[in-house]
Amino acid sequence: MHRSSYLAGKLGWAAFTILFVIVLNFFLFRILPGDPARAGIRDPRLTAQAQQAIRERFGLDQPVINCFESLNPLTLGNCAVNPLDTQFFIYASNLLRGELGISYHTNRPVLDILGERLWNTLLLIGAGQVLAIVLGMAVGVLAAWKAHTPVDYTALGFSLLAWSLPTFWLGIILLFWGSTYLGLPIGGKVTPGMVYANSWEQLADLARHLFLPSLTYTIVFLGEYMLIMRSTLVDVLSEDYILTAKAKGLTHFQILKDHALKNAMLPMVTIIALNLGFTVAGAVQIESVFSWPGLGGAIFEAVNRRDYPMLQGAFLLLAISVIVANLIADLLYGYLDPRVQAD
């Protein structure tokens, strides 16, 4: 397959999926009770002017979409209206301008809040995910190489147990232990009110806050990556070309390094991408437990505060992040697999 057509196909698919998510995000909130726009004009936390501004911004006087005045309660309407005047179109064009609405709780634009939080989530996921992937693959390689020995069984047992731990519960237990016995902070990203003498101190404070959440992350995902790596590598090591490599006189180490790992990496990349949904689920739980100011925590807070614009925005951003990460994984696959890059 040519690389350019592979690329174009993946990009097109990602764009289509994002479009689907945008449509879903609009209708979900219109069909289920709790439309953020309409809830907003009744929310006592907003002033009369703010409510009027929402009414205009979201075109609440307009039909939801052609033929439907409203979806909840279901009211049929005129099919001949100009599509540009429907709520759906106004929503879409708002979105294009980065307009995600105003948070009820903070009265700030949702996009601004989420923009700050996206980086915190990336920091947390990045730290935990890199550790989990590196450690998980290392242990997985060891377990596969020593398949059906005590080393393998120990790793397998640990992984199955780690897989069965609810992420939030592991977080709670580690938080309880860390804050009681290690004097680690009980949450957040920085110590409130702390004045830093220099940026090293600031970094150290961040590291202290990041330690427990990323440890939780690592433990939960370590087992999973280890299991995947192990089974993938056992398959690869059963292939004929490994026997060829052995016949050539390569040592086990050389075979693993030069012949097995790259082949095992291909399915690994795909599976890591398929697991991104779990990664995000993990972020929601960990950020909720550790009050980490990220996107996942935003969902938790938005639910508890009935802050619908925040909920809608955070979900949209999370979903798009996963789609983009998936796309990156696909592109990485195209880079790793010579069968794709041949032109």
């Binding site: 070309y241 026997l243 016949a247 006189g249 082949n263 069968r339």
Partner: protein
């Protein structure tokens, strides 16, 4: 019945295999006797064909010689000597150093025998780097080019991946890789299965040419007697993990002594008599973990008699280089002796 091997007969053989026996262990069953007391020799420049139905232990033999048996395989006895080195007594590290340098292998089905994510040239160069001084990158590159050239692949295709090669080219590349370190012996395990007839013929011709050019010793494993006739000097016919008949190629084709060899030849189309019906041997090979007490071939043998069911026959010598494991040989010999 003289074959061209006879001049070597008194020299020390390059490879000498004595009473090699391999079991496959399975905790829930008695071990499968995949190879029993196999004895043969291979001289420098000689091509030996190893023939038998699938499951007769051919592939096990190849893997045992390279000490590459799968986890369940156990070499339970015997000796494999390469010149004066006892291969079965080497440490794993010593054995690894010797693999490919002296004993190289062409695997069956080259599709999976080459690593799909590395270029062909790189995989050939790897073998050289491993066993020879390859500090001169340009010399190494030249050598890879020469090797590909030798097997009829344009040197410019060295940077391509196996999937960009046709089936026949992959097999050629595999042969080039096997020759990379100028080994003494090349073991070819069904090198032409999965290839179409034209390509088969090309590959066989290539092997024959290379053998003459490089004075290679070849151990050719196949179920196809036609290939053996084209390429080999001597033939080892195996049945149920043991030697059935071992002789020069003329003797095997013109005066087969073992009923199994005779049946195999009937199953093999004779180009001079194109309308002859192809025979197939009724029954199936023995289960290796439940062998008959007598001759392994007895249940399928058309010339079977009582004694065959009681004890396994020894290996009898018809001439100094024609061996067969069958009571018929003994009977004929004693009868012949009586006549004299």
């Amino acid at each position: 019945m003289m074959t061209e091997v006879t001049p070597h007969a008194h020299k020390q053989p390059l490879l000498e295999v004595k009473r090699l026996s391999v079991d496959y262990v399975d905790p829930s069953q008695p071990p499968a006797q995949a190879l029993r007391d196999l004895t043969f020799t291979l001289h420098r420049g000689e091509a030996l064909g190893v023939v038998g139905e699938s499951g007769c232990g051919k592939s096990t033999l190849m893997l045992a010689l390279m000490r590459l048996l799968p986890a369940a395989g156990r070499i339970v006895g015997g000796s494999v000597r390469l010149d004066d080195i006892e291969l079965l007594a080497l440490s794993e590290r010593e054995m690894a150093a010797l693999r490919w340098k002296r004993l190289a292998m062409i695997f069956q089905g080259a599709m999976n025998a080459l690593n799909p994510v590395r270029t062909v040239g790189d995989q050939i160069a790897e073998a050289i780097r491993l066993h020879e001084d390859a500090s001169d990158a340009r010399a190494l590159d030249r050598r890879v080019g020469e090797l590909l050239d030798l097997v009829g692949i344009a040197a410019s295709r060295r940077n391509q991946y196996p999937f960009q090669y046709s089936g026949g080219m992959r097999q050629r590349a595999m042969i080039a890789m096997a020759l990379a370190c100028s080994p003494d012996i090349v073991i070819a395990d069904e090198p032409t299965t999965a290839l179409d007839v034209m390509i088969q013929a090309q590959i066989l011709q290539l092997l024959a040419d290379l053998r003459r050019q490089l004075n290679l010793s070849i151990l050719l494993v196949t179920h196809d007697l036609g290939i053996v006739a084209e390429l080999c000097d001597r033939v080892l016919v195996m049945y149920g993990g043991a030697l059935a008949e071992y002789a020069g190629v003329d003797a095997i084709y013109n005066a087969p002594a073992h009923p199994y060899t005779q049946e195999l030849l009937k199953a093999f189309p004779d180009p001079t008599r194109p309308l002859q019906r192809l025979a197939s041997i009724p029954g199936s090979p023995p289960r290796l973990n439940d062998l008959p007490p007598g001759c392994r071939f007895a249940p399928r043998c058309p010339q079977v008699f009582d004694r065959c069911h009681l004890t396994p026959p020894r290996v009898y010598a018809i001439t100094s280089d024609h061996l067969a494991s069958c009571f018929l040989v003994e009977t004929q010999q004693t009868r012949g002796a009586r006549h004299e």
